[in-house]
Amino acid sequence: MINIPSTIKISLRALRVNKMRSALTMLGIIIGVGAVIAMLAVGTGASKQIEEQISSMGSNLLIVVPGATTAGGVRMGAGTQSTLTLADAEAIKRECPAVEEVGPNLNGVAQVVYSHQNWSTGVVGTTPGMLIVRDWTLSSGKPFTEQDVKNATKVSLLGQTVVDNLFGDTDPVGKIIRIKNVPFTVLGVLGKKGQSPQGQDQDDTIYIPVTTAQKKVFGTAFPGMIRTMMVKAKGAEYLADAEKQINELLRQRHRIGPKQENDFTVRNLTQMMQAREESTKVMTLLLGAIASVSLLVGGIGIMNIMLVSVTERTREIGIRMAIGAKTWDIRLQFIIEALTLSLIGGLVGIIIGVTGSEILSMLAGWPTIVSPLSILMSFSFSGLVGIFFGFYPAYKASLLNPIDALRYE
């Protein structure tokens, strides 16, 4: 019968006797586990950031951009032509059943002035629908209405960054700002959204009615022109339908023949972002895999030391066998020694990994998230490494001939 608690005691004593060596052996596992945890924390942090950006952008989004591809054989980049109109946006909302809301966009950069402060920002001409499309709520004030769009009133909604730069601590609601020298009343402030998936500050923006932008701020090449529009589908499962319906409707509205190419492009933003999220996850896995290699190397280090230990303690093994240690008594002793090394190494590695992630996010500014799963995983993996690499030395020890072992000098 094997007495596990006593065997553990024996193993721990053997490790204590050789403190320096035990510590150095653990180092491999410590670095391995620490690296796995830190790498996964970096990866998870990046994924989480992208996830947040996707949800800040709004969900189930399609974006329609003009100027598809060709102009008389010369292929132009998307957006080089302006082909979309406010009427297109309204038609999409009206006629495509899979579409929930449409937000037209006529944007440009403009200098904005309030009192003695001025600031250059992106001004977006749009409709109240845009707020729904982008899941954007106001932190104060009230949004402009369809009526404002119809009448092209000079009202505006400010992003938080604009408020910070122009107003400081003053409440902007009801104040008058000048956009390209045109006076606008501030109706409300947009809630803070943070960075976009592209890394832009989404709060550095001003929303005004699209008609006001067309007539009073930017001007248009033709009546009703807008640059792009964002479309919110009724749900994730409607995205493909919405894309198809928009394509059909716009081809018809733009009178594009069956063999002609589109003068617009519909892009599935959500899909693009999900693809990016996927690639981040792959990166996380990759980082984790690379870190696991160091864990493996740590395991080989343990095996190395255990083999030396078995040779060094041949006489001890002989004595134990002479007084009745059975095959598995000897095996377990060495396996538990290896396991102890790797588990203590794992624990220290967890501490190092967690602090390391903190330091990384502080120094490099990367968002890191240490998930409990990664701790559990790397800890149990280090245990497995201990058992796996401890087994061969233990097996070798248990096969010694008692007499030869006793006589070993």
């Binding site: 019968m1 001890e316 134990r320 007084i323 095959t327």
Partner: protein
Amino acid sequence: MALIEVKGITKIYRLGDIALKALCSVSLTIEKGEFVAIMGPSGSGKSTFMNVLGCLDKPTDGQYLLEGIDIGRLDRDELAGIRNKKIGFVFQGFNLLSRTSALENVELPMLYDGMPAKEREERAITALKSVGLEGREGHHPNQLSGGQQQRVAIARALVNNAPIILADEPTGNLDTKTSAEIMELFVKLNTESKITIILVTHESDIAAYSRRMIRFLDGCIVSDEKKGIRGQGLEVGKL
């Protein structure tokens, strides 16, 4: 039934092409409670014979019955069990675990027998007391004299109540006075606890403590004499 019954034990070592016959067809019987000294010059096969008796080595040929159990039929772990329960070893070099206290050294055989910790400790303390090492339980081997280390080894051999103690040159590393003390301890164990003691030595004054002397030469038994009274042997040794 004899305690130990050995029939035609032969041991041949093969070193490359050369076959070395360490034991050639040895047969003998040892009864319970005997005190046997095995003597002979080095290379006579006495240590090989002890290893066979101690279930540490298997003979090339022949049969070994220990309390009627055919040792040749047992596997590795069963042999370990026999060594644990039936045989206590005392070696010339003491063979204690270094960096391990006397108490823990004595506990070791019981540990491999799966005894609960409390009982283990109690019995180890009793065993150390019986060999005169009371108060030295926490000492490590390097803090003990040679004689004390050998006493720890004897306590370890006793603690599982093994009926046999095999001692291989137990006084080889000790001075004359300590040797005498250790031998007196063996005599006491033999007479009071009826433990069978088999002792390998090449010193006749050590062998004189025994009541039966077996001499080996070139792998064979050349003489086997029993003495009625222990005192005789003792006097012979002192001459």
